[in-house]
């Protein structure tokens, strides 16, 4: 075949990583001893498609490895195996291993064979372990690194399969006869057809399948090949596959197994402890991989309903357009009203279209939140703390860029909460709190913003300690007077860390300032509220989308600039007596007993032809950026509008004081001001 498979690799990797996420969250939700068939099924399906995909693309190591995992899960699915914490941990470790393998393959690097073999060995052991009385999976010979898993196969003498296809099975191109033929190759097959579902002759649709079958397949056959025969029709039929045993074998092997169990269990445990230990290392190592992922994957999955809405919208737009051109063809003043209506309609459609296009970029924040269950699971084990993670509002939709960029800061905040926030169980009991701590992640919309909150019910921040630390580090004057809010903000200062003991999880003092910078780079801000002994809440406010901005246009000379509406506090005429000149350099003005610096736009941007250079004749726009307030001296305010942010950097480079550009209604370009940048520029 001459098809270049490489073109599908990207899709395969994306789907596989998605599948791994599903497996991971599914596994974390599995509680030992409670088989939740829906959860196991979804894990199994994810594993199955990874196996199928990797097989197709010839990544045999991955498909072999997944196969072993799949076998284990298959037994859980059928209830032939108890779900133990050991098994779940083992599978989680394997998911990590699989992810590394996929990364390696994606990057074209060699797979860490040793680690893979280790995991495979552990899986094999586990497989032979508890469930093995019923277990008979015949693995391909090359996968059996550690002895035959075949040992108990003799106990199964055959299978009973109840197969009742749904009416539309044939339409999917599947043919029961062919499947039976496949089965009959495996062993002696007895087929009994059940005619009860067949309707009257006149009602029969020849394209539908009304029969169901009872099959008895005798012989020493593994479950795998049978599943394989039905693999394509799993979703189109009701299928029950039960093994047939020789009665006496069953009880005997079960008791034999119980004795064997403790020994193997401990081996498995030993192997598991390794991957769990290395889990933090894995998280750290992920960074370069993540980067590659951000660069590599530029596709986005969109809900079909969103696309349908979009297509509807475009349809409407086309209709409006043709209506308008009809009016335009034979226009006279009598049609003025029609024209106005048409234009109003056009405006509405355009706005709706804009909204739904923006909507495409929106995805639920769940994709970020979901990975935290794993993080909390691993870290709480490592730290020896008991922690519940609560996710609230995980279906809140955010811009794709936000989703990609918010993840690292959030990881940092959650780790901080786990490490420094939540106390050890005995400490908690001593202060009368429940033994299990709670960390919650909440997302919701407020105004045009999305708010993400990370809160914990741990020990909270100690204001006095923060203060002492800041003074010790020379970040704060000894006699400085700070409000509570300002004190908490100290933790965002570079080089600040109060952790008495550095751990490898957090506490190196290089975190919170980076977190704050990242968030500010997204146009958001971060706040912290804390009460000693009760816990802390960190809220992140982010703009809903990074592509559109509410702006105020201002005029300076012949130029038009856009100021982000969110950063404007007010605009005012200023009286001469409220202006202060400091050594004819800096200018400040008095606003409600606060002196604010004045930035003359025409000076720092060197704009000629301004209407006036007298402060009392122009306008001051009071703006705030990164906590700094100042007044921008401009000629005039023009109007408010939503502007689409275009990049200047794409074709040129960054300009200090300008965050981007946009296109105005008349087709000309206007620059969008970056307030913190302007302040920096003015200070130079």
């Amino acid at each position: 075949m001459s098809i270049d498979m490489a073109q599908f690799h990207q899709v395969f990797f994306e789907e596989s990583f998605e599948g791994l996420d599903i497996m991971e969250s599914g596994l974390l939700n599995l509680s030992p001893g409670e088989p939740d068939s829906e959860a196991i099924n979804s894990i199994f399906r994810a594993a199955h498609s990874i196996k199928g995909g990797s097989g197709t693309f010839g990544f045999t190591e991955i498909s072999d490895f997944t196969h072993v995992m799949e076998t284990l899960m298959d037994e859980m699915r059928d209830g032939r195996r108890q779900i133990t914490q050991t098994a779940v941990n083992l599978l989680l470790g394997s998911v990590d291993c699989l992810r590394e393998m996929l990364f390696a393959v994606k990057e074209g690097k060699a797979i860490d064979a040793e680690r893979v073999a280790e995991h495979k060995h552990a899986l094999d052991l586990e497989q032979k372990n508890s469930g093995s009385s019923l277990q008979d999976e015949s693995l391909p010979a090359h996968e059996l690194l550690s002895g035959p898993a075949h040992q108990s196969a003799s106990k199964v003498i055959g299978w009973h399969i109840a197969f009742s296809p749904h009416a539309d099975l044939l339409k999917t191109g599947n043919d029961p006869v062919r499947m039976f033929r496949e089965l009959s190759v495996l062993g002696e097959l007895e087929v009994t057809a059940d005619f009860r579902g067949v309707p009257d002759f006149y009602q029969i649709d020849p394209e539908e399948c009304h029969l169901s079958w009872n099959l008895i397949l005798k012989g020493d056959i593994g479950r795998g090949p049978i599943d394989e025969a039905f693999a394509w029709v799993e979703d189109d039929c009701d299928l029950a596959i039960q093994p047939l045993y020789q009665a006496e074998d069953l009880s005997l092997s079960a008791s034999a197994n119980r004795q064997q169990q403790p020994a193997t269990e401990s081996i498995v445990q030993a192997v598991i402890s390794k991957p769990v230990d290395s889990s933090t290392a894995v998280i750290k190592e992920k960074a370069p991989g993540d980067e590659a992922k951000n660069k590599g994957s530029t596709s986005i999955r969109v809900d079909t309903s969103k696309i349908d809405t979009l297509i509807n919208m475009v349809g409407e737009l086309v209709i409006t357009q043709s209506m308008l051109s009809l009016i335009g063809e034979h226009f006279d003043m009598s049609k003025q009203d029609q024209l106005k209506n048409g234009l109003a309609q056009l405006e509405r459609h355009t706005r709706e279209l804009q909204e739904s296009v923006m909507n495409i970029r929106m995805m639920p924040i769940n994709s970020v939140f979901s990975r935290f269950s794993r993080l909390v699971h691993d870290l709480s084990n490592k730290l020896g703390k008991k922690i519940d993670l609560k996710l609230i509002g995980e279906h809140t939709e955010v811009d794709k860029t936000v989703v990609e960029l918010i993840s690292d800061p959030l990881v940092h905040l959650v780790r901080n909460s786990l490490d420094h926030g939540i106390e050890m169980p005995d400490e908690r009991i001593a202060v009368g709190k429940p033994e299990t701590g709670t960390v919650s992640l909440e997302a919701y919309h407020r105004g045009g913003n999305i708010v993400i909150e990370v809160s914990d019910d741990g020990k909270g921040l100690d204001k006095d300690k923060l203060r002492a630390k800041a003074i010790e580090k020379g970040l704060l004057e000894e006699d400085a007077i700070l409000t509570d809010k300002q004190t908490f903000e100290l933790i965002f200062m570079p080089g600040f860390s109060t952790a008495e003991q550095l751990t490898d999880i957090s506490g190196r003092g290089v975190g919170m300032d980076v977190v704050r910078r990242n968030i500010q780079a997204l146009g958001g801000n971060i706040e912290i509220i804390s009460e000693l002994g009760k816990g802390s809440t960190i809220s992140i406010h982010l703009p809903l989308t990074l592509a559109i901005l509410d702006g105020q246009s201002i005029a300076v000379g012949d130029e038009t600039y856009i100021v982000p509406l969110g950063s404007i506090i007010e605009s005012l005429h200023i009286k001469e007596e409220r202006i202060n000149r400091v050594a004819d350099k800096g200018e400040t003005f008095l606003l409600r007993s606060e002196y604010l610096p004045i930035i003359r736009m025409h000076e720092i941007f060197k704009v000629p032809n301004v209407k006036t250079t007298k402060l009392s004749e122009g306008l001051l726009v009071v703006v705030e950026g990164q906590g700094v307030r100042c007044g921008l001296f401009v000629d005039d305010l023009l109007g408010q509008q939503q502007v689409v942010i275009k990049s200047l950097e794409a074709n040129y480079r960054r300009i200090e004081g300008v965050s981007g550009a946009t296109i105005l209604g008349d087709g000309s370009v206007a620059l969008i001001l970056d307030i913190p940048g302007l302040v920096r520029l003015a200070n130079q």
């Binding site: 130029e559 275009k646 074709n651 040129y652 200090e656």
Partner: protein, 165 residues
Amino acid sequence: MKSENQPGSNDKEVNQFLTFELAGDSYAVEILTVQEIRGWEPVRKIPNTPGFIKGALNLRGTIVPVLDLRERFGLENVEYTPVTVVIVLSINNKDHPMVLGVIADTVSDVLDLNLADIKPAPNFGVNIDTRYMRGIYVAKQGMIMLLDVDKLLDVDDLSKIESLL
């Protein structure tokens, strides 16, 4: 990139070049880098940039910087007239594709040039910068300077200029 072909690498290779005029002299750029040619229209000034960056242009939703070649090459400035043109070029700035508009007096012609006939730009001494030149072609009507468009918007170069300002 075509422009990486060394002159004379293939005797038979013929490329098409768009020629235009600046202060009476002929210049040329490889036609494959030309995206479109537009009439001059006022652009939005970008603050705190070198003078030869005239501003930003809205090219169907993309923001494109516009560079005055006369100023870039230190020629005398003229008023822009209706025949002043903006040649929109797709360039490769350090492996980063960019779109750039350059202002020229007029566009003249499209020429088929044999790459072997392109002479390397002579060294004019220290005073004249030949970095942006790919070579010189001697035509019947006179010399044509071939520009290396990828170097026109060299960002390092720009910041150096800025630091001098």
